[in-house]
Structures are given as C-alpha cells and as structure tokens.
C-alpha cells in the first residue's frame, strides 16, 4: 500500500526525493508534484531512481547550468527521444548486471518524464518503440495540454476550444477543432504494458499506480493531469483544484490497463458537468464568448460521458482476461539465458 502524507513526511521531511528545491518551474506548477509523487514512491520502495527527461518546461527549469535540481542520476538528450534514451540506460544496466558489475540485488528504477508535446507528438515513435521492445521503465507524461515551454502552442493533447497561439480562438475558427488524442489507449494497445492515468488531487491512487508500475514486469506508461497555471490562465494555487475538477467531471477519468485488463480506479457516480471544468479556466474564456461555445462544450460532454461508459464496459468485459501474460518477459530477458 502506498504511504499517506504523514508517513511520507516522516520519511522525506529532511531529504529531497530526487528533485530538489531551487528549481525554476513557475509558482504553483503541477509538474514538480508529479515528479515528487513518483520518485517518493520509488525511493520509499527501495529503488534508486534514474531519470531521463525530454526537452520541456521541467527539463529547462530544473537544470540551468551550473545548477541541477536533481540529486539522482539524470539525463536529458533531446525533445523526441527520452524513451529511446532511457531504453539505452536501462539496457546498459542489464548488461552491467549480467557481467557482474552491479550487485544483483541493487534495484534501479528508470523513469522518463516528458510533457505532452514530447509524448503525444514528437516523441511518440520513440515511446512506442521502447514500449514495444519491453524495456523495464516508467514513462510519465505530465500533460499540460500544450507546448507551454515555448509559450502555449497547440499539441495533440490540447482540448477543443482551448485558446493557444497556433490554434487561437478567432473570429471564424473557435480555436482547436479536434478532441485530445487518446494517448492512454494508444499506449494500452502495446498490450505488454501497464498503463494508468493519475491526477495529483488523488495522491494515494497516484502512488498506488506508481507502485504497480515499479513492480510490473515490463514497461509502464503513466499519464498525469498537470495544470499549467500560466497558460491555463488560472491562479497559481489552482493546480490541485483543477485536477480534482478534471476527475470529478470525467474529463480526466482515473483508470488503469494492465496487459489489456481495464480497471476504473475511481468511480464517479454523479459527475459534474464538464462545462464547470471549462468555465474554471481562462484558456477557454475566448471560446465562451462565441455563439458556438455551447455546441463545442456539448460535444466534449458527449465524448467524456461516452468514454467513461466505454471504460466501465471495458472493465466488465476484460476482467480476468489479460491480452498477454507475464510470459512475454521471456522474450526479452536475454540475461536469463545461459551464456
């Protein structure tokens, strides 16, 4: 079981869990908490985290030379290749273990963090390849629904109607027209993978999933709701509130898919209307002043409702029916073969 805030505070009150203060993320940004929750879980479970980052806010703000806000091994390579990069690190670890250069009981946990741009868009191929190959790593996307590091451009994760600089709400076009790409399902389709959505408003659920990911015999993909207070145009103190509202409106359903088996980890019986989520954020304000706002919100509402119903149905029909078994591991762990 994951630890609660009191227990975590006992463990970590006098040490920094991988990431340290002195980083230069915006005040109130959700991403440092996404990192903290993940790495605290790993460290509490006896793992040494090794971290890879894709180019993005988190990367630039935590490692401005000559300062690093990481007290664990860290590598940033480029924007689109954090999964391939960490797959190289993880492979080097297996090679070193096989050759007896590392004690066999030493537990390293390989994390890759990337924003939605580095995941949904430019890094998708690298991510898909690394997950298909079955590397033991945990990929966490802090999804703030746009290219926020470069100043709020549209990504494949941007919701419809959100005002971005490359799909602005104009006189004719109501901002982004497309729904978010469903990255969770794309990753779940890799089958031999543990996939989950998390939100910082649900820390126990969050850390439970990290724990599962750590113990899972293969790659894991975690999608974290991660408010960008700056470009979502909300107050600095709203990251947790907006995550909570996202969960309560079903905008961000909390579920997991383990080798094809779906489980909705937080059932919402009386969801709030998604409009409440939309109205709480300034990035939708230009949309709200348009005559077609109602239609766009209605479309999103229908999508969100039917997606949740579908998830519940999938939970029902996939129960005890994993697509693949742990035998898939045998294909990969060459170090177990006699040399």
């Amino acid at each position: 079981m994951p630890l609660n805030a009191i227990e975590l505070a006992k463990l970590f009150h006098d040490k920094n869990p991988g990431i340290t203060p002195g980083h230069r993320m915006c005040p109130g940004c959700a991403a440092p908490n996404v990192v903290k929750f993940a790495l605290m879980t790993a460290i509490a479970k006896g793992y040494h985290p090794v971290v890879g980052l894709a180019t993005g806010c988190l990367e630039v703000s935590t490692t401005i030379f000559p300062y690093t806000a990481w007290n664990v091994p860290y590598i940033h390579n480029a924007f689109e290749n954090v999964a391939a990069t960490i797959s190289g690190v993880e492979t080097a670890f297996r090679a070193a273990k096989k050759r007896g250069e590392i004690p066999p009981d030493k537990k390293l946990a390989f994390f890759a963090f990337a924003g939605d741009g580095g995941t949904y868009d430019i890094g998708l191929q690298s991510l898909s390849g690394a997950v298909e190959r079955g590397h033991k790593f945990i990929y966490i996307v802090y999804d703030n629904e746009g290219y926020m590091n470069t100043g709020n451009q549209r990504s494949g994760a941007t919701p419809p109607g959100s005002d971005t600089t490359t799909a602005p709400v104009g006189k004719q076009i109501p901002g982004k027209l497309q729904l978010k790409k469903n990255i969770v399902e794309i990753m779940a389709a890799h089958e031999n993978v543990y996939v989950a959505t998390v939100a910082i408003s649900e820390p126990i659920d969050f850390m439970k999933k990290i724990e599962k990911a750590l113990e899972f015999d293969g790659p894991a993909f975690i999608a974290a709701h991660s408010a960008c207070v700056r470009f979502w145009r909300v107050n600095d103190d709203k990251a947790v509130e907006s995550a909570r509202l996202a969960v309560e409106t079903l905008y961000w359903p909390l579920y997991e898919v383990e080798r094809g088996v779906y489980r909705v980890t937080k059932k919402i019986t009386n969801p709030k209307p998604v409009e409440e989520y939309i109205r709480s954020q300034g990035r939708f304000r230009p949309l709200l002043s348009r005559p077609d706002a109602k239609e766009i919100i209605e479309e999103l509402q229908q999508y969100v409702t039917s997606r949740y119903e579908r998830l519940l149905a999938l939970e029902e029909i996939t129960k005890d029916k994993p697509l693949r078994g742990p035998w898939a591991k045998e294909d990969f762990q060459t170090d177990e073969h006699a040399m």
Binding site: T63, P73, I75, N77, T91, A95
Partner: protein, 389 residues
C-alpha cells in the same frame, strides 16, 4: 595467431565487434549497412557475445539509445548509412557534446534525393562538423583494424569523443576481400576494459547529463570540445603504435603512397585510393612522378601532415566523393585552406567524382593527372570525373 579470412567489410566490422564484445548495440537496418548488424545479431543470438542488443525502431532512436547506454558507462556501438545518419543528425551532435565515446560504423552512401543506395561520401560529410572523430577505411582490412582501434581512441581521458568509422557502401561493405584478423584474446587485451567516467548507474555519485546551457557557459563547453579534438592526433598515434605491435600494420593520420619524390600528388578518401594506387603504378612505369595522400583521419583534419607533405610540389589534385552546393567540395576546401600557410604553394585542382555510386576508373584518375602534367589545374574551378555533359 593472426588468421587470413575472406570477409566482406560489413562482416569484418561485425567480427571485430564480436571480439570487442561491447555492452550495448543499438541499430536499425539500412542498405548498405544492414549486414553489419545482421552478422552481429547472429553472434548475440548464438551467445558468442553477451552484448545486449536494442533493435530500435529508427536510426534516431539507435543513436539516442547509444547516448543513454554510453552515459550509463556502457561501450555502445551502432552502424548506419546515408539517410539513417541524417536522421540521427541531431543526436550525433549531442553524443559528441556530451563527450560519449560511442563507436559508429558508417557504410557511406549517397544522401537523398532522389533516393540512391550506392556509395558516396555526402552522408559523412554532412556530419563533419558534428564533433565526431572520423576515420576512413580504404578496404576491408582497414575497416577491421579501425574498429579494433576505435574505443581506445574515443575513450582516452584526453579525448572522450565518439568515433565514426567510414567504409564505402557496397564497395567495402559488400566486397569480399582477404584480410588478416587478430586472435580474440589479442583484441580483448588490446581494447581492454572500458574507461568509465560519470556513469548514470553510479547512484552514489549522481550526475546531470544534458542541462540547459546558456550564453554564460555553452561557449566554454564548446571550447572544451575543440580542445579534445586537438588531443586526437597524439592519442591516435599512440594507439596506432600499439596496434602495430599486435598486428604489424602501421597507421598514421594520413597514408602516403609513393610521395617521396612525387611532383604531383592526388588526395582522396576511402576505397578510391585503391584505384588511384593502381593508376599511380602505371604512371610511374611511364616515368611520371606521382603519388597519393590518403587521410585515414579526416576529423580532426590532418592539416600539419598535409602541409608538410604538399609544400613545394608541382600539383595537387583533390578528389571529392561529395559536393558542397554553393561552395567548394569538402575535402578540397580543407586542403586548399591548409595550403594557404605553406611556403611554396602547389597548383591545385578540385575533382568531384562518383556521386551516387558512379564508377571511378583508372582512366578518370589518369585524366586528372594529365591535367596536372599540363599545368592545367585551376584552383577556382571544380571539375567532374565520369559525368556526362
């Protein structure tokens, strides 16, 4: 005992890598490099090596995974060609700037477009300023030898740079030649254990690779890379000297062929040097004082060696297997620049040849030498061998 074997260049490189037994190989198929990783994959599958192989989904990920592996202290290897190398481009620079001694074999092939699978040097030339050491093999033997030597050069604490072994696509990669291979244990002890620095697996000493490096420090880091390249000639010579002891084969920054009394010298990279040597023999039989200089190392550029050799000659002909659109061809440009500083500048001529795998024949080489004999070399004129007007 050294053994004579008949191998293709691709097989010879894979064979050398088998003897080195690197920690991690990450690669993606591309003609004409593919057989390198095919042969190596077979060694892995048969348990001849205990290397971990990453069959990545692109060359971009091949180089990215090599960066991750090398940063984790592993000896990492990859191989590619042409557009595969171009796809890696971004990470090729990053590998060098993170100072990771990765080794990469490049079966030199023309860059698109239109797409072409045959030999020229446009792929490697596009990376000449990336910060990689570039070695250029003339034949299968040299491709094998350079592979054995590469980690020793790149991993040296004064260097810490990645090494690119260039071997002409198809001509060397697929051509079977007899070469002399070394014993496994000889290679093993020559290559030794990797010199690990700043490993990501050392959780007791966590390091940060690849920070955001702005105007206050980036320049200093680039200066360090410039300095590292300056150390390469010394380290290369040391490694070559040791290599000579185990193999009897002597390497230097450049190979000189019949240059002692030569009035006219041709300069070329890679397999074409074989054709040039053949032609030089013919011309020598006709009483012409001709010779060849073949850079074994193109990056760092062997400027001082070329100045020493070329000073005072009558004519120097530079052959380039790639064009630089809107500027002089890359090898020619570098040679010409080097000759600015010599006391007695020779006549100088630029010849581009063999793009997209176009054959180069002794007749073409003779044609260029004939121009030189006539005093008809014009420094500002690019000429083409084997091209239809």
């Amino acid at each position: 005992m050294p053994a004579k074997q008949a191998l293709t260049g691709a097989e010879a490189i894979a064979y050398a890598m088998k003897q080195i037994n690197p920690d991690v190989v990450a690669a993606y198929p591309i003609t004409p490099q593919t057989p390198v990783v095919e042969y190596f994959a077979k060694y892995v599958a048969d348990g001849v090596v205990d290397t971990e192989m990453i069959p990545v989904e692109s060359e971009h990920s091949a180089m990215s995974a090599c960066v991750g592996a090398a940063a984790a202290g592993a000896r990492a290897f990859t191989a590619t060609a042409a557009v595969g190398l171009a796809l890696m481009h971004e990470i090729v620079y990053i590998a060098a700037s993170l100072r990771l001694p990765i080794v990469m074999a490049v079966a030199n092939r023309a860059l698109s477009g239109p797409i072409n699978i045959h030999c020229d040097h446009s792929d490697a030339m596009a990376e000449r300023d990336s910060g990689w050491i570039q070695l250029w093999a003339e034949n299968v033997q040299e491709a094998y030898d350079f592979t054995v030597m590469a980690y020793r050069i790149g991993e040296h604490p004064d260097v810490r740079l990645p090494v690119m072994i260039n071997f002409d696509g198809f001509i060397i990669s697929h051509g079977v030649e007899v070469l002399e291979t070394l014993d496994d244990d000889v290679v093993k002890s020559f290559v030794g254990k990797p010199i690990k620095m700043y490993s990501l697996l050392d959780t007791e000493h966590p390091v940060t690779y690849g920070p955001l490096d702005l105007y206050d420090y980036y320049f200093e880091h680039k200066r360090q890379q410039i300095e590292a390249m300056k150390h390469v000639p010394k380290v290369f010579k040391q490694v070559a000297e040791e290599f000579e002891k185990i193999s009897g084969r002597k390497y230097d920054l450049v190979e000189e062929y019949m240059t002692d009394d030569a009035e006219y010298i041709m300069i070329a990279l890679g397999s074409t040097a074989g054709t040039i040597k053949h032609t030089i023999k013919e011309l020598r039989a006709e009483g012409k004082k001709v010779g060849l200089v073949k850079p074994w190392v193109f990056r760092p550029f062997p400027k001082f060696e070329l100045q020493r050799i070329l000073n005072g000659r009558k004519g120097v002909i530079v052959l380039d297997r790639s064009a630089s659109f809107g500027a002089e061809a890359p090898l020619y440009e570098a040679v010409k620049s080097a000759l600015y500083e010599v006391a007695v500048r020779p006549q100088l001529g630029s010849y581009v040849y063999g793009l997209g795998g176009r054959d180069i024949t002794p007749a073409h080489i003779r044609q260029a030498f004939e121009d030189a004999f006539k005093g008809y070399l014009i420094a500002d004129e690019e000429r083409y061998l084997g091209l239809r007007e």
